[in-house]
Structure formats: structure tokens, C-alpha cells
Symmetry: none
Subunit: 243 residues, 2 copies
């Protein structure tokens, strides 16, 4: 049974990695802090390290070099993650001792495939986690038009009108609005929205929901600074205002 150490400060991505590698039969340990990672790696030998390049405090590169410098994980394969696709980062990562490199956002399959390749273990996969993944695809969203807060939302035509005026929305903004407006008052966590609005299974930070909300508010709120339609629920998520 292989042991995998995951160093990633974003909790959501950490969750996804632990989940999918764990389901592959790997023993996953996840930490969000560089110091903790070094402490763990100093006393336990791992078979693979998944390492985020961008970390608060101790840098991913520093960890990479520290691992290579000696100790029980001197020769451990390192899979490096980063938000940036730039070649310079890649070179930097590989030079500091990483064995493979993956840029966010990336798909689960790719991560698992690369982890497996690094582990060089031709073991029969126990389960196929991806099988039912696409069940959420087109299903789930209602096609009926709905009206709320002076907005007319027509899913079939993918059109929104406010005060008789057509409002241009991107596909993603529309999906978000539709999910929220279909359940006024119900609070959706960022994770819930990720699974409903982002159809494909990619690693996306929950904070990206904030960005999408910001962009949606710019379009449908009279004053985006004091939203009346899409409300923030502190510590929980977002909701469409009750009637």
C-alpha cells in the first residue's frame, strides 16, 4: 500500500485529491501547511508527494529542495501542482527536483494517471470512480421559465430580461443564476455551487465562485455593492433573496 503526502493549502483541492487518490487504494495524508509537511516528511517515508507550488509560509520549491536534501524522502517522486502554466515555473519546478508537473485547473483523471505513473505500480484498479461522474451533465436543471425579483429567466432560450431589457450573460453566469433563482432562500455552499454550475469535474477553487458571483452581480444588480438579488450568507455561501 503506497503512502502519498499531499501538500496543498486550498482545502477544496486537498479534499478532491485525497478523495480520488484514496479511492485508488492509496494511503493519503493531507496537510495545508509547509512546516507541517516538512515535519511529517522528516519522520515518515512516503511513496509519492503531491506538492503545491504556491503555499503560504514555506514555499513549495523550498519544500522540494528540502526533501531532496536528505532524510527518509530523499528519493521520493514529487508531483508538483501550480496555478500557472508558464514554462519558467515548470523549469523551476523540475530543476528543484520535481518529477512531474501539473497546471491547474486539471482533471481528476490526469492527476490520478500521473500519480500512478510516478508510483510505477501496475496494480489492477479496484474501482472506477469516474463511472457515474457525468450523470449530472445535462440533467437536473429545470427547463421551465421562471420569474423572480423582476427577472424573467428562460432556460430554454438561455435568456434573462430585467424590466423588459435583455441582459447578456455568459453560459456560466446563467447557470449560476438559474441554480440560485430556482431555489429562492435556499443557501448554497460554494462546494454545492461548484458541483452544480461547473459541470465537468475539474479542480476549481471555491473562491472562484466568488468571482462568478461578482461578475453576475455586475450584470443583474442595480448596485453591485449592495446586492438585492444574489445575497451573501456569511460563513455559509450564497442564496437568491426570498420573495
Amino acid at each position: 500500500m503506497s503512502r502519498v503526502l499531499i501538500v496543498e493549502d486550498d482545502r477544496h483541492i486537498r479534499e478532491l485529491i485525497v478523495l480520488h487518490l484514496g479511492l485508488e487504494g492509496l494511503a493519503c495524508t493531507a496537510v495545508g501547511d509547509g512546516h507541517e509537511a516538512l515535519a511529517l516528511a522528516g519522520e515518515t517515508a512516503f511513496d509519492l508527494v503531491v506538492l503545491d507550488l504556491m503555499l503560504p509560509g514555506v514555499d513549495g520549491l523550498t519544500i522540494c529542495k528540502a526533501l531532496r536534501h536528505g532524510g527518509p524522502n530523499e528519493d521520493v517522486p514529487i508531483l508538483m501542482l501550480t496555478a500557472r502554466r508558464e514554462e519558467s515555473d515548470k523549469v523551476l519546478g523540475l530543476e528543484s527536483g520535481a518529477d512531474d508537473y501539473l497546471a491547474k485547473p486539471f482533471g481528476v483523471r490526469e492527476l490520478v494517471a500521473r500519480a500512478r505513473a510516478l508510483l510505477r505500480r501496475p496494480r489492477a484498479s479496484v474501482l472506477r470512480a469516474e463511472a457515474a461522474a457525468h450523470s449530472a451533465g445535462a440533467a437536473g436543471l429545470d427547463e421551465r421559465p421562471l420569474a423572480i425579483h423582476g427577472m424573467e429567466i428562460d432556460p430554454a432560450r438561455r435568456r434573462v430580461r430585467i424590466a423588459g431589457q435583455d441582459v447578456e450573460l455568459t453560459a456560466q453566469e446563467f447557470r449560476l443564476l438559474h441554480v440560485l433563482a430556482s431555489h429562492p432562500g435556499i443557501v448554497f455552499s460554494r462546494e454545492a455551487l461548484l458541483s452544480r454550475v461547473w459541470s465537468d469535474q475539474t479542480f476549481v477553487t471555491p473562491r472562484s465562485v466568488d468571482t462568478l458571483v461578482k461578475r453576475l452581480r455586475r450584470r443583474i444588480e442595480a448596485d453591485p455593492a449592495t446586492p438585492a438579488r444574489i445575497l451573501t450568507v456569511w460563513g455559509a455561501g450564497y442564496k437568491c433573496a426570498d420573495v
Copy 2:
């Protein structure tokens, strides 16, 4: 770093368990097949086994007995899961060597709390107390609204109303209220509340529970000095007043 073996055929439950235990810093290995579980357990020593009673192929009880029969996991704590709440199943499970028992549907927080408790090898009395709290009603992240003491608590809307008036609560206050109000009359120790209300693996002083109770009372009690809803049980903890 503790190793946990999870044997569960339902993919979603497997995911949940791996995710949350993995985030607790535990090394999780998940399998959906009984044969695979026995093969793994025959060669590796685990610190905890989470075992589903109902499995296709090799039965959970069979696995339980096989583990106890000898090998590297002879004395491993076993947390048994089942879809049925019936007493006969429980007895069967405990007799075959399980250390604790959890009926589906169960809350994630509760699972984590019990897993940690088993890893800590707690006194039997603690276990009994938690079991009593559990049997008193549905546990964890229940989405069903409930009404008690003139309060309407709606988890999906994250809303509390007293006498028709909306009461603003922070996320933490809401979780505390929900845990207590879901089990009226049941006394929760500060430690029990810490594991249920504080989702993260953060280490927080039990006295912080007092502060949270104070803040909650300020919002939902007519006179916070003489609480009628959230009661102090001297030397034990807190409870929601019985009806």
C-alpha cells in the same frame, strides 16, 4: 500517523469517509470489496477499520470475525456501519468483535468523532454517552427543518425564526443551536460539542464553548441571564431544554 482501512461498497459513502478522515490527517485506504479488504488486512496493520455490515460477496460480519481470528489486525478497533437500525444487527455486530456501531444515515461529524474516539481508545463510559446521544435522534447535518421552544430552525435556509422574527446567527452559532436543538434534553459535554460544531481539526479550548453559548444565548434568549432554551448542566455541559 494512523492508518485507516475503509470497507464500504457504496461509492458515495466511501468518498465521504475517505474525504473527512483524510482531512483529519489519517492515512485512508478504501476498498469496496470484501476479498480485497481481507487481502490488505492480511499484510498490513491498520489502526482502525471502518466496516460496512452489508457487502456484496464477503459479508461484513465474516470480515470482522476473520480479522479477530488472527494476523496483523487481531486487535484493531472496528467501527461498523449498517443501513439498519435494528437492535439485532447491533448485537450481532458487537458480538462478532466490532468496537462501535453507527447506523446509516449518519452525520459526517459523528463518524469523525467516533473514529477519533476509537483511535484514542476511550473509556467505555464516554462511548456509551455518545451512543445515547446518537440514539436520541437523527445526527449530523440534517437538512430537515425543526421547531422547538417557539423557534423554527431551517438548516437549508440557514434561518432561525422566533415569534415570526428572523434571528441573525453566525455560522457557528447556528451549528451549535442545531446540534443542541436536534437532541432536546440530551446533555453534550464541551468536548462532544467541540467535535460536532468545530468541523476542522482545530484544537480549541473547551472553554470556548462557553463563549459560543454566551453569544448564542444573547440572540435567542429573552433574558440571557436566565436562559430558557439552552441550559447549563453543572459539571457536565449544555443541553437544549426538554419540551
